[in-house]
């Protein structure tokens, strides 16, 4: 395929959609921004910014317990956002949606709270070799505290989980499995349905790190049957600082609270404190009210376009990118899974990813370079890092072409 071929982005009216995102109209170094760092964070549609503006100019107020009008309005909007999120992932109950600060915070909540109740010396926690640090370190911390062991599902050279190894590692000592749905470094989509079924057959609960799944793949949490599912608002077109932990009612009820403070208690005396019901038991302190409401607006936006449509549009642009990038001599992909989504990692010849990233940046192309918070994975591939281009539905094939041109130019300069 060459640049002169007509470029169509079929499922979506992409030019119209791009107008919804003010930042996509800006320039960097005098050239139009080509934003291919969506796995790090996504850009925000106007409606999300409007919801922030409306909140702060019309009804900002602390939520719950407030008798006055603003407080009721704020509480309703905040709880409405929770409902939207519950509906979006098809949770059984609204109170299974815990607002967090982000994926990292959600995973730490489960590691600490589940770990305190259910982990003891000799137990095992099972993660995978492709996890983000946020799904490694919290488990290391609690395993160390409890004398439990962290076990790791290995991967093959394509960057896929070795499922036979998983089967072997899954035994009655394992108290929880924590794996990512989609790898942020490799784009691998893991067989989480199958893994959850197998774990459940041994009564082992599963936490899914949904940070790179929620924005790319339609989620039906009841069908998936995950026990916990964590994601970040900022990666699904919402604001920074807010995220979601879905947890099955049964587990959330059994787990002790994570943080203590306002809103999470029913009754406090110095002698004895009783905790509030779900979801408030896990939401200590004034929540990120505006963040929660704006995340609700982001979910509205996504739903309006349709999660399935988004997936289709993204698959198309990712496939096109894969195709075009393959044609670059000496470019090799890091991770080559059959099922993939969102991100493409690669290296070009002996060029250091940092150098390539910088020369792309100068051409107003934003990609990410480095270990992407998956150092053990980089160690596995014996590389210092990769260049990662990651896509959202607002990315066009024309942008992919610019990326390819940019890499060619960088090659000429750096090789």
């Amino acid at each position: 395929m060459t640049n002169s071929e007509p470029i169509t982005d079929s499922v979506l009216d992409i030019e119209k959609i791009r107008k919804d995102f003010p930042i996509l109209q800006t320039k960097v170094y005098g050239k139009p921004l080509i934003y291919l760092d969506n796995a790090a964070t996504t850009q925000k549609p106007r409606t999300v910014l409007q919801s922030l503006e409306t909140y702060y100019t019309q009804y900002n107020s602390n939520v719950h317990r407030g008798v006055h009008f603003l407080s009721q309005q704020a509480t309703e909007a905040y709880e409405e956002a929770r409902k939207k999120i519950a509906a979006y992932i098809n949770a059984r109950f609204d109170h299974e949606i815990i607002f967090t600060k982000g994926t990292t915070n959600g995973i730490n909540l489960v590691a600490s709270s589940f770990g305190k109740k259910f982990l003891k010396a000799g137990d095992e926690v099972l993660i995978s070799a492709m996890e983000h640090h946020s799904n490694i370190v919290p488990w290391q911390l609690i395993c160390e505290e409890k004398g439990a062991t962290l076990k790791v599902i290995p991967i093959n050279e394509q960057g896929e989980l070795k499922m036979d190894a998983f089967d072997e590692l899954l035994n009655s000592k394992v108290k929880i499995v924590a794996v990512t749905y989609v790898s942020n470094s490799l784009g691998t989509v893991n067989p989480v349905f199958e893994m959850i079924q197998k774990a459940h057959a041994l009564n082992i609960p599963v936490l899914i790190d949904g940070a790179q799944a929620i924005q790319h793949i339609p989620i039906d949490i009841q069908q998936l049957d995950a026990d916990f599912f964590a994601f970040s608002g900022h990666k699904i077109y919402g604001p920074t600082g807010v995220g979601v932990l879905y947890g099955k009612e049964k587990w959330l009820n059994e787990m002790p609270p994570y943080e203590g403070g306002g809103d999470m208690i029913k009754n406090v005396t110095f002698a004895k404190t009783t905790y509030n019901e779900l979801p408030f038991k896990f939401e200590a302190g004034t929540p990120d009210i505006s963040g929660g409401i704006a995340l609700g607006a982001a979910i509205d936006y996504v739903q309006q376009i349709g999660a399935a449509t988004i997936q289709q549009a993204e698959e198309e642009v990712v496939a096109y990118a894969f195709d075009r990038l393959s044609a670059i001599s000496s470019l090799r992909f890091i991770g080559d899974a059959k099922h993939r989504s969102g991100a493409i990692s690669f290296l070009v010849g002996n060029i250091h990813p940092f150098d390539l990233g910088e020369i792309l940046d100068k051409q107003s192309i934003a990609v990410r370079t480095g270990h992407h918070c998956t150092q053990p994975l980089m160690d596995f591939f014996h590389i210092p890092g990769t260049v990662r281009a990651s896509f959202a539905f607002y990315n066009t094939k024309a942008e992919v072409d610019e990326l390819v041109k940019g890499i060619e130019k960088a090659k000429r300069m750096l090789e």
Binding site: R65, Q72, E79
Partner: protein, 140 residues
């Protein structure tokens, strides 16, 4: 009167008020008039604790019907409680179990029944319906 008729009557009564002051004065008056729950029933096990106000609820089952008496430490809540009691007391378990309470919304005191308050009224209503459901299940 059926539960529906009771509610419609209340809504009709409230339609005569021209401003919030009149409406609240009426509710407050109701609160003051509410026959206090028998002191013996104002005990811990009948207490429904909201975040802001307390509600006591006592239920008696006679002749295939449920009779409620209730109280609250906040007068506006008490007024509302008295209306809910008027609507539901003396009805059959089945009717109570299936009742849809729309009058609070209709007279503009919706917030008292919203989760956002986590006050006693909503919990009381749930409790009342639970009595209905329980007795209905026992085929009474």
């Amino acid at each position: 009167m059926t539960i529906k008729e009771q509610q419609d009557t209340i809504i009709e009564e409230f339609s005569f008020f021209t401003d919030w002051t009149e409406k609240y004065e009426y509710i407050i008056q109701l609160g003051k008039d509410l026959p206090l729950i028998d002191e013996q029933y104002k005990k811990e096990e009948n207490l429904i604790k909201g975040c802001q106000s307390k509600v006591w609820l006592h239920a008696e089952h006679r002749d295939g019907k449920i009779f409620f008496t209730a109280d609250s430490d906040a007068i506006i809540t008490k007024g509302l409680v008295s209306m809910v009691v008027r609507v539901l007391s003396g009805q059959s378990p089945a009717a109570i179990a299936d009742a849809e309470i729309y009058f609070v919304d209709a007279i503009g005191l919706k917030s008292h029944l919203s989760l956002t308050r986590s006050n006693g009224l909503l919990s009381m209503l749930k409790q009342m319906k639970m009595y209905g459901v329980a007795l209905k299940a026992r085929g009474i």
